[in-house]
Amino acid sequence: MLLHQLAHSRTGDKGNLVTISLIAYRKEDFALIEEKVTVERVAGHFSELIEGPVQRYSLPQLGALNFVLRRPVSNSVTRSLALDAHGKCLGSALLAMEI
């Protein structure tokens, strides 16, 4: 099943950092999401687009995880050659993860 069925997401940016929230629709699914969507899996999922380690913060009372990813400095918001310079669409890519 795709994460898209269990959770929703919003992506933000700060320089070359991308922040992606992952929020369970139902609080009872949060434990499964927390178990399956590890920093290692997220780093592997985005390996073509990011560099360095991924950080994950857990907010159980909100049923939410918050990920911080690092893009190469040449791909920071104000310098990027990418069509989506902010990386705004990356949250949608996370929701395409199979769990």
Partner: protein
């Protein structure tokens, strides 16, 4: 308990204006805040000011003020905004002129300055900490602006300003300042400042709290995004708050929209750095009180940092871009042939970095995450490159256009542009290297 209603009338410079008018007319608010300054906006505004000394403030300032000022003047709603951008005094003068033209005499309009630290940095101060790698060379700098906190806004409110125009101020401070002023919160009550900062952070992107940037048909449906209502916070003296919007406006506000916005652009939820407080959102909880009414609780805070963040805008070369579409049988193969031609034509020019994408196939998520996609009926080739001159950047656009008569069959819809890149670097400087000023004009 005393409560204060604050509305957010803009979440970015180009935002819709009619929802702000709706807030002023029907929102029963005491303050209307417009957050209009992205990271790069000041640097671009500063560039405009170099050629025109009365330019450099928000391009929609006049349109916004003409739309809301008569209502706000009549209802005694105070306006706070960072639309001053690179030139708050000119923005204040413009606003005074508009007020006078509309027949509103005696309005007090404050301009907050002091965020511009370019000369301070150029003169060289110790203890500048770069936040990501070495700072760019000083000769490329266009602007350097420190993030001010609530202090100058509170000073303006104490001077009975009706309209306050700032340059760079931490976004949540635009909302925290009226709370501190009205409730006489201490500037060292970190817990309350943390709660007020959470409210400010939730409001600052306007429609993103009320269903904007949220809709996903069949999964997260949002009604009437064409007339999205902007958010209102009803804040109590103890820092607790209810988030809501005007009855009958479009959009939705619920625990899910609030959770998405709480975490938007946040790194460690337990340590959200602002000039006024290190806010802690890790214990925040939302509770749905009724339709489009959500209470927020649990935010906290710790002592403010001893440094202020500075955004340095600098000239960073040029980017040229071009696009052309191919459709029908063998569209992708023709687009790939076009890419190969461009790669050869552009080799050896002053282009340090070149990127090709197929829009519809891999331009957004890259090849790895897009690998299972079916080949679409139409493909748009996009070439983008970094160049050391505007002429070299424009060459990329020209070469893409030249694919019409020199490239594969059936190319269409070529477009492109070349521009100077104004990039942003961030640094930290000691708080005492920055001092603010408040000037007041009267209409």
């Amino acid at each position: 308990m005393n409560t204060l209603r604050i509305g957010c009338g803009a979440g970015y410079s180009g935002d819709r204006i009619d929802p702000a008018v709706e807030l002023a007319e029907k929102g029963d608010i005491a303050y209307l805040v417009f957050e209009c300054l992205a990271e790069r906006t000041i640097a671009i505004a500063q560039k405009a000011r170099l050629t025109d000394p009365v330019a450099g403030y928000d391009p929609l300032l006049e349109e916004r003020m003409r739309a809301v000022l008569p209502i706000c003047a009549q209802k005694h709603i105070r306006i706070i905004s960072n639309m001053g951008a690179a030139n708050p005094p000119a923005a204040a003068e413009k606003t005074r002129d508009i007020a006078q033209q509309l027949g509103h005499r005696g309005l007090r309009i404050a301009a907050v300055t002091g965020d511009d630290v370019l000369e301070t940095l150029r003169a060289g101060i110790d203890e500048v900490d770069s936040l990501e790698g070495p700072l760019p060379p000083a000769e490329t700098w266009l602007s350097a602006n420190a993030y001010l906190g609530v202090a100058p806004i509170i000073e303006a409110l104490r001077s009975d300003a009706d309209i306050i125009l700032t340059g760079r101020v931490a976004d949540p401070a635009l909302f925290l300042a009226p709370l501190v002023h009205e409730f006489r919160w201490s500037l060292e009550d970190w817990e309350l400042l943390g709660k007020g900062t959470a409210v400010g952070h939730l409001l600052e992107c306007a429609g993103q709290l009320t269903g904007g940037y949220f809709g996903d048909p069949g999964v997260k449906d949002v009604p009437d995004l064409d007339r999205l209502g902007f958010p209102i916070a009803e804040v109590s003296e103890d820092g607790s708050a209810v988030l809501t919007k005007i009855d009958g406006s479009g959009g939705v506000i619920n625990a899910a929209t609030c959770t998405e916005q709480l975490l938007y652009e946040i790194q460690d939820p337990a340590a959200y750095y602002t000039p006024d407080v290190v806010a802690d959102f890790s214990g925040v909880a939302f509770s749905e009180l009724g339709r489009d009414r959500v209470s927020v609780s649990g935010a906290a805070g710790r002592m403010r940092p001893s440094t202020l963040k500075v955004s340095i805008g600098y000239r960073d070369g040029y980017i040229g871009e071009g696009q052309i579409s191919y459709a029908g049988p063998n569209a992708l193969a023709r687009a790939e042939l076009a890419r190969d031609i461009l790669a050869k034509r552009l080799a050896g020019l002053e282009i340090s970095e070149l990127r090709f994408d197929f829009i519809g196939l891999n331009s957004i998520h890259g090849t790895q995450l897009s690998r299972n996609a079916a080949v679409p009926h139409e493909v748009r080739l996009r070439a983008a490159g970094r160049a050391s001159s505007l002429a070299a950047a424009a060459w990329i656009t020209r070469e893409v256009e030249a694919l019409y008569t020199n490239g594969p069959a059936g190319g269409g819809g070529a477009s492109g542009s070349a521009r100077e890149v104004i990039a942003i670097a961030s640094a930290l400087i000691p708080r005492d290297a920055v001092s603010h000023r408040v000037q007041i004009l009267e209409s």
